[in-house]
Amino acid sequence: MPDPNAQPAPFVLDRSFAAPPPLVWRTWTEPALLARWYRPNPMCQTTVLEHGLHTGGLMVVQMRFGEMPPSYERWLFQDIEAPRRLQWKQSMTDAAGNPVGNPRMPDWPRVMLTTIELQAQASGTLQRLTWQPHEATPAEIACFAGAAAHLDRGWVGGFDNLGALLGALVDG
């Protein structure tokens, strides 16, 4: 069930894959397949330590890179509609499961409500990833996420179009 306090559009990332939705679904929901892609780069090793694919179920993922201490993620599944929609709350945690900040991205919110939606298309699958920070003030941060979506779409890597960018924020 979506958080009732989180209203406006979250951040969105669309991507197409040349594979049918049921196969893409399996890469998200089968631990052996997830471990083969869910990592920042191929030098990292991902291991699924726990996996309960049901509402309220938990997945724990460990990621190792060289000699560095491993990092962990927890997913708490909220909504599962095979093979179309998967929603979960996601956190970086320590080995004991306590949420921690990401040392590489210190401003990363501790918990993200994350959703993937898979849609069949002629060339395979259109996947939509949406996320919104799920914090103590979800309404404030979700409101910004709507503005942030405009920020991201309008940003051209410089301050040249700041006026048009902020105009989009006013209209949005």
């Binding site: 990332l13 397949l33 991205m105 990833l129 996320w131 910004f144 503005a147 920020l151 991201d152």
Partner: protein
Amino acid sequence: MLRPPPPPATQLDAVFAALADPTRRAILARLVEGDASVGELAAPFAMSQPAVSKHLKVLERAGLVARGVDGARRPTRLRPEALAAATTWLDAYRALWDARFAQLDALLHDLAHEPGPETDDA
């Protein structure tokens, strides 16, 4: 050119909270056109100057604007570098997902060519 270090978590939260309000976003849009006094900012909203000042305090705490000390006028100036910091955070997060999906793409190609039950797309 070296990028500035990322702002502390609390500062970025202040930016998010500041931008969550449509009136404050409109104030920022007006400041893109140039510095403005409190009276000039209040006029389009039919809002009292104290009400606008409250919004300006939120924007100032977030580092999004700077306010002059020039007597009663206290012109307000936009600080676009603060907005840049917020978008840098978003860009980094999206880049992380892009990197993961590049590997997902490669895995899906491998699965299409691997022998055995994993290639069944039942």
